[in-house]
């Protein structure tokens, strides 16, 4: 009898285990189906739609300055219900500026933000875009003879004056008279660099012996070669080198380090890349002039939005530079980090 009841208990326990296993199997199958269903979800991505698309066409898409401006433009654009793409970026081929303008026109964007130049080709392309109903605003450099709708300028004259003041300060500090200074102009920028040049000359007068060199920044590798060639061509290294381009600034900084001229030749840079800020911290770069890129971005987007909305927009907007040197570097960085955050 006891044997029978023991056997029954064993069977009952086994039946219980079978029941549990059955539920485990069923739950496992449902979980399995769930896993399989979720497999496809990795392909899904979340994105936001915008009613308008603008194209940003940089002089040099690899330039840090252009990327910084683009970043700020994109950020501001998204806040204002439009999207900006940097035409030619992430493509397998590096297209010329003209090609990138053509691409923007062919892809029927709602507006173009263009780093302008004086060339006739660019002007023609701007006219073509305008003919297609695409408004073009120029930024940093203008294209005067074109049908662009607006120009967002960086106040180059005041920048020249700032450079001049910095030169005067260096001259005073070093008690050098006349102070030799080399200004490296961008080949493509034309008269904007000339404005800076003349503003420096005007503010310094004869206390500075200002010479100039032209650097080709149209392709990624030429600026560094040009800088080296220019410096090698000089009998004596200048007391100050003024750079009007971020890549030129970094190239000059590297060249000064390589030629062991740190301390003897001061650099007045352009733009606030991390390399340049570090060089200021080390004392290799005397000062740099950072663009108020957020202001520029805001002006670009506002100009295009205003034109699209009303058909009219102011032809000229202006923004200033910020001088960054060892004295205000930490404050500037803190401010930048705050903005980044």
């Amino acid at each position: 009898m006891a044997k029978v009841s023991r056997s029954r208990v064993a069977v009952t326990i086994l039946a219980g285990i079978v029941l549990v296993l059955f539920f485990v199997t069923v739950a496992g199958l449902f979980y399995y189906r769930d896993i399989i269903r979720k497999l496809g979800e990795v392909q899904e991505e979340y994105y936001e739609e915008y009613p308008r698309l603008y194209a940003y066409i940089a002089e040099d898409p690899q330039s840090e300055l252009s990327n910084r401006i683009y970043k700020d433009i994109l950020e501001y654009a998204r806040e204002n219900d439009c999207y900006v793409e940097m035409t030619g970026q992430n493509l397998s081929t590096s297209y010329s500026k003209a090609d990138r303008i053509n691409i923007a026109i062919s892809s029927k964007v709602d507006g173009i933000i263009l780093e302008g130049d004086d060339s006739e080709e660019t002007a023609k392309l701007i006219d073509k875009a305008t003919a297609e109903g695409i408004p073009v605003v120029t930024v940093i450099s203008d294209c005067i003879d074109s049908s662009r709708k607006s120009f967002i300028d960086l106040n180059n004259y005041s920048l020249g004056a700032e450079y001049g003041a910095a030169l005067a300060k260096i001259g005073e500090a070093r008690r050098l008279y006349p102070l030799t200074a080399l200004i490296l102009l961008d080949r493509d920028d034309g008269n904007y660099d000339d404005i800076i040049h003349s503003a420096i000359q005007e503010s310094c007068g004869r206390s500075v012996l200002l010479t100039s060199g032209v650097v080709d920044t149209s392709t990624p590798f030429t600026s560094e070669e040009d800088v080296v060639n220019i410096l090698d061509g000089l009998d004596k290294a200048p007391d100050v080198i003024i750079c009007l381009n971020d890549r030129t600034t970094e190239s000059v900084y590297q060249c000064i380090v390589d030629k062991n001229l740190v301390g003897r030749t001061e650099i007045l840079g352009y733009y606030d890349s991390e390399t340049i800020l570090k060089a200021i911290d080390k004392g290799s770069v005397y000062a740099t002039f950072a663009i108020e890129s957020k202001t520029v971005a805001k002006q670009c987007i506002n100009a295009l939005n205003e034109y699209n909305a009303s058909g009219f927009v102011s032809e000229y907007f202006s923004s200033n530079y910020i001088r960054v040197d060892r004295n205000n570097l930490s404050e500037y960085r803190a401010e930048e980090n705050k903005n980044e955050g």
């Binding site: 029978v4 056997s7 069977v11 086994l14 039946a15 285990i17 079978v18 296993l21 059955f22 485990v24 199997t25 496992g28 199958l29 979980y31 399995y32 189906r33 896993i35 399989i36 269903r37 979720k38 497999l39 496809g40 990795v42 392909q43 991505e45 994105y47 936001e48 739609e49 915008y50 009613p51 308008r52 698309l53 998204r78 439009c82 999207y83 793409e85 992430n90 493509l91 397998s92 081929t93 297209y95 090609d99 053509n102 691409i103 026109i105 062919s106 892809s107 029927k108």
Partner: protein
């Protein structure tokens, strides 16, 4: 209910049910996993579909451009047909491309491609129109523009293809990894389901074999002896085993019954043997006593015969009668001591005895007989009346005055019995003594001769009924001893 249904199924059906259930479970799990795995494989296959469609788009664009180039070069109709067919196809393909501005780089590139394709197609149409208008400069310019856009498009398609390939490859590897995970998962499910099936088979086969095991254990128990202590098996099912168990229980009950009957028979037999032995012992005892007493009777019998002849020769008739009665009395003792006799013979013996005693006591004892003649042939054990008469004389009337003592012998029918009653008019017998006699507490040795106890014992053994003998008495009113012989046993 379900368990009973299963329990009552035939064994062959039970086995089929066990295999069916487990097979169906295994198959179900298999099919489920297979179907889901197929879905997963479809998803994996669709991962690179975007690359495939982009390649189709690019091939189609190249065909349009070939058609356009051919038409502009030679104005060939085949080229134009190719151009239109490809354009139509392109319009279909373009529908799948995104047309919205989004912050997804791939979607944006798709939008650019779509718009550039539209620009390309409209420019190409313009070129064809210019060709028809034979405006060389215009269609050359449009063709160059088309070539440029085609170049951009190829670059875009190539780039987006690369970008998508990267994303798709990443998705693919994620999917493959997930698939490995699902493989492990499916293995686990299989494992659990298999364990479940094994347990299910164990339980169900146990349900089938357990009654058989119990049955065999019981059979072994019986084979080891003492089946009467074996309890019948409980029947749980109505299948073959249930039927066998029921039959087994019936067989067990039959065996128990048979054994009980044999036991009762043995007990009866041994009781019978015991009875026979006791009877023999009593007879032997009686015989011994008689033999002891017959030494003289034999001698006396022969001597008396000689005395009778002498008396006859001398002409003493009463003496002859007396001696003959004595001789008859002793002859009867010698002859009939171990047999049943007819009642008439027993009465004759009493007559002889009474004659002798009356001669001896000079007719002092009055002897009366009331005999139903039809009962004279009834067979009775020998020597049952004379001891009673002797007893009555000895203990009943011995203290009476001469001539007052009276012995009455009555033989009559009462119901289905032949009653023999010996009565006296003596002093009677104490209740105590009667009780002792009836309970056999008074030993034969306490009486002289063949005592009343011996008669009772023999009658008990012979008729197996104590009620055959009855003794009644009242103070100073005599004693009545009655023997009731059942007529069916008396071999009339």
């Amino acid at each position: 209910m379900k368990a009973n249904f299963f329990a009552n199924m035939k064994i062959s059906r039970k086995l089929v049910a066990v295999f069916l259930i487990t097979t169906v479970i295994a198959m179900g799990v298999n099919i489920f996993i297979y179907a889901n795995l197929n879905t997963a494989l479809d998803k994996i296959n669709s991962v690179f579909s975007s690359n495939i469609s982009l390649n189709t788009l690019q091939d189609n664009l190249n065909q349009i451009h070939t058609g356009l180039t051919g038409y502009l070069e030679t104005k060939g109709t085949d080229d134009l047909e190719l151009y239109y067919a490809s354009t139509q196809n392109m319009n279909m393909l373009m529908r799948d491309l995104n047309n919205n501005v989004t912050d997804s780089s791939i979607h944006l590139a798709e939008r650019d491609i779509r718009n550039m394709l539209e620009t390309y197609l409209s420019t190409a149409d313009e070129a064809i129109q210019a060709k028809r208008g034979r405006n060389i400069d215009e269609y050359t310019a449009k063709y160059n523009e088309c070539s440029k856009i085609k170049d951009y498009l190829n670059t875009y398609i190539y780039s987006i293809n690369n970008e998508q390939f990267k994303t798709n490859s990443s998705n693919y590897s994620t999917l493959i990894n997930s698939l490995r995970y699902t493989e492990i998962m499916s293995m686990l499910i299989f494992l659990v389901a298999s364990v479940m099936n094994i347990l299910l088979i164990i339980i169900l086969t146990n349900t089938i074999t357990r009654p058989l095991t119990r049955l065999s254990a019981k059979a072994e128990e019986i084979s080891q002896g003492s089946p009467e202590n074996v309890e019948p098996l409980e029947v749980f099912s109505d299948d073959e085993v249930g039927k066998v168990t029921r039959a087994f229980n019936e067989m067990l009950a039959s065996i128990k019954d048979y054994i009980a009957r044999i036991r009762t028979q043995l007990i009866t037999q041994s009781e019978m043997k015991e009875k026979n032995l006791l009877m023999e012992t009593h007879l032997k005892d009686a015989q011994l006593k008689y033999l002891q007493s017959q030494i003289n009777p034999h001698f006396l019998f022969n001597t008396l015969n000689a005395g009778a002849q002498l008396a006859m020769m001398e002409g003493a008739d009463r003496t002859v009668e007396y001696i003959r009665n004595m001789a008859d009395f002793f002859r009867y003792n010698v002859k009939k001591s171990s047999e049943t006799v007819r009642l008439s013979e027993e009465i004759e013996l009493v007559d002889s005895y009474m004659y002798i005693l009356n001669v001896r006591f000079a007719g002092e004892i009055l002897f009366e007989k009331d005999i139903d003649e039809s009962l004279l042939d009834v067979h009775v054990p020998s020597m049952i009346i004379q001891p009673l008469v002797e007893n009555s004389i000895k203990y009943g009337i011995k203290d009476l005055e001469p001539g007052e003592g009276k012995i009455t012998l009555a033989v009559y029918r009462e119901g289905n019995c032949c009653c023999i009653r010996v009565s006296d008019n003596g002093i009677g017998t104490d209740e105590e003594i009667i009780e002792k006699i009836m309970n056999h507490e008074k030993r034969p040795s306490e009486t002289r001769g063949v005592g009343i106890t011996n008669v009772m014992a023999r009658l008990d053994l012979y008729y197996n009924n104590k009620e055959v003998f009855e003794m009644k008495s009242r103070k100073n009113e005599g004693t009545h001893v009655t023997i009731k012989i059942p007529l069916e046993d008396s071999n009339v």
